[in-house]
């Protein structure tokens, strides 16, 4: 699905990746571990085209990441950070936001779909009336996940998402991501999350190495 070929990146005189060759397969549940500041989030940014490598290439389903295909690639990927920026004033506006963009027009979800996803993520449907500044970090994460599901995204990049979520919600995420149709590339320090993932890659001094369970 995603392949790093001879990828190197230095940021602020620090080696993040050095001649890295890695393949992320469709349906993989991957967790990237490593010390704070080692560049784990940067790897997620590289996949989304939000950071650029100094050398090497990234391939997405066989096509090299380029200015021509980056929009299409971004459309397939959901990024969920610790404190997501939602946009809009209310939760309803935030959920509706992507459907204002040309590329998503005509794909607006129906009410049943929205309430079904909100229920699955243990969110009350009345949350849609709330101001986004009045909801918690964990709720913001769940709204961001709900929005990605409404958009039909199947590849999730998750950056330390368990820190603000309680166990019942995390269990729901395990059940979601354990299905074959979803691919997961995550960054985490959480032992439970790490043990849930089927592959673990450790980032240290620019090398991304497979850790056998």
């Amino acid at each position: 699905m995603i392949e790093f070929k001879a990828l190197s990146l230095n940021l602020n005189n620090k080696i993040i990746l050095e001649n890295c060759n890695t393949v992320f397969k469709e349906g993989d549940k991957i967790v990237i571990t490593g010390d704070s500041g080692s560049g784990k989030t940067t790897i997620l940014n590289l996949i989304m085209g939000l950071a650029e490598a100094d050398e090497g290439s990234i391939f997405f389903r066989g096509s090299k990441l380029s200015s021509e295909n980056i929009s299409e690639i971004r459309k397939s990927i959901a990024y969920i950070g610790q404190e997501p920026a939602l946009g809009g004033t209310t939760v309803a506006e935030a959920l509706d936001l992507p459907f204002k963009f040309k590329s998503n027009r005509g794909a607006e979800p129906d009410e049943k779909n929205i309430t079904g996803i909100l229920n699955f993520l243990l969110l009350d449907k009345d949350i849609r009336e709330k101001n986004i500044n009045s909801i918690s970090g964990g709720e913001k994460q769940r709204i961001a996940i709900a929005r990605a599901l409404l958009l039909g995204k199947r590849i999730f990049l998750a950056d330390e998402i368990t820190s603000a979520l309680d166990n019942t919600v995390i269990k729901q995420l395990y059940s979601l991501f354990s299905t074959e149709e979803y691919s997961l590339i995550s960054v985490s320090h959480d032992p439970a999350w790490i043990s849930f993932c089927s592959r673990r890659l450790n980032l240290k001094d620019g090398a991304l190495t497979e850790v056998k369970p």
């Binding site: 085209g49 939000l50 936001l97 204002k100 590329s103």
Partner: protein, 264 residues
């Protein structure tokens, strides 16, 4: 109508004496404005004095190429001041901002002179220089605000901008909220001025014309015309400068380049 009464240097100096009254009061209040005020007063006197001499010479010669050169110099200084105050890289933005001002301000001034004022010679310094200056002065302020708000807005809310990209927005859609905010902030002052002009204060151009001997109705027609021209010129320049600058401010992957700012 009578000519404007000239002010003698001695009589002008009376105001320099009177200015000591507020300065003394400020001093008594313990503010540290005195030094700044005196420095600004000196600069204003020297700058306007020099411009006075230069414009006298320019008006006397009234040469097409000299007048146009003066306009080009004004555009260049305005472009330089805009990038500096908007905290943007001079190398990257001066050419595009110069072009935006040339079309927005230069084009509006040309239309104003050719279609509205219609003097015997279109490049007459008496019309070209002050009209271009007034439209340019307002456009400068609006352009500084719009460019500064737009680029610092994206930089300060980088996470939100990137979220838009990840949700399927193309670059134009992702910058739209920042563009709308920049346009509002930069054009609101002129829109507010248009709504209150004449009620709160008599505008400078109209006052100047009446002091110069024009009948109030002529002065008002000029004032309406210049307000329209200012709004047209500054709106065009602001929109063009934002659109032109966007072309060189982002990477091919639609990420804002770091080196577009003066102080990275």
């Amino acid at each position: 109508m009578s000519e404007t009464l000239d002010i003698s240097i001695i009589h002008l100096a009376y105001l320099y004496i009177l200015i000591f009254l507020p300065l003394l009061l400020l001093l008594r209040e313990g503010t540290n404005l005195i030094k700044d005020a005196l420095f600004s007063l000196l600069r204003m006197t020297i700058q306007l004095g020099l411009v006075g001499f230069y414009l006298t010479w320019l008006f006397k010669l009234n040469n097409l190429w000299l007048n146009l050169l003066w306009v080009v110099v004004m555009l260049g200084v305005a472009a330089g001041t805009t990038v500096k105050r908007a905290n943007l890289s001079a190398r990257k933005f001066i050419p595009t901002i110069f072009l935006g001002l040339l079309i927005g301000v230069g084009g509006t001034t040309a239309f104003f002179i050719l279609a509205v004022v219609r003097p015997d010679s279109w490049f007459d310094a008496r019309y070209l220089i002050p009209l271009c200056g007034m439209i340019m002065g307002n456009s400068l302020r609006a352009n500084v605000i719009s460019l500064e708000r737009f680029y610092s807005g994206i930089r300060n809310e980088e996470k939100l901008y990137k979220t838009y990209l990840m949700l399927g927005a193309d670059r134009n859609e992702a910058v739209k909220p920042f563009l709308q905010q920049a346009l509002k902030s930069s054009l609101n002052p002129t829109i507010a001025t248009m709504a209150t002009i004449g009620l709160v204060s008599l505008p400078g151009m109209m006052t100047g014309q009446m002091l110069g001997g024009s009948v109030p109705l002529t002065a008002i027609k000029y004032q309406i015309a210049i307000m329209l021209a200012i709004f047209i010129g500054e709106s065009l320049a602001v929109i063009l400068n934002l659109k032109f600058s966007i072309r060189s401010a982002f990477t091919p992957f639609d990420i804002l380049k770091d080196d577009i700012f003066r102080n990275v």
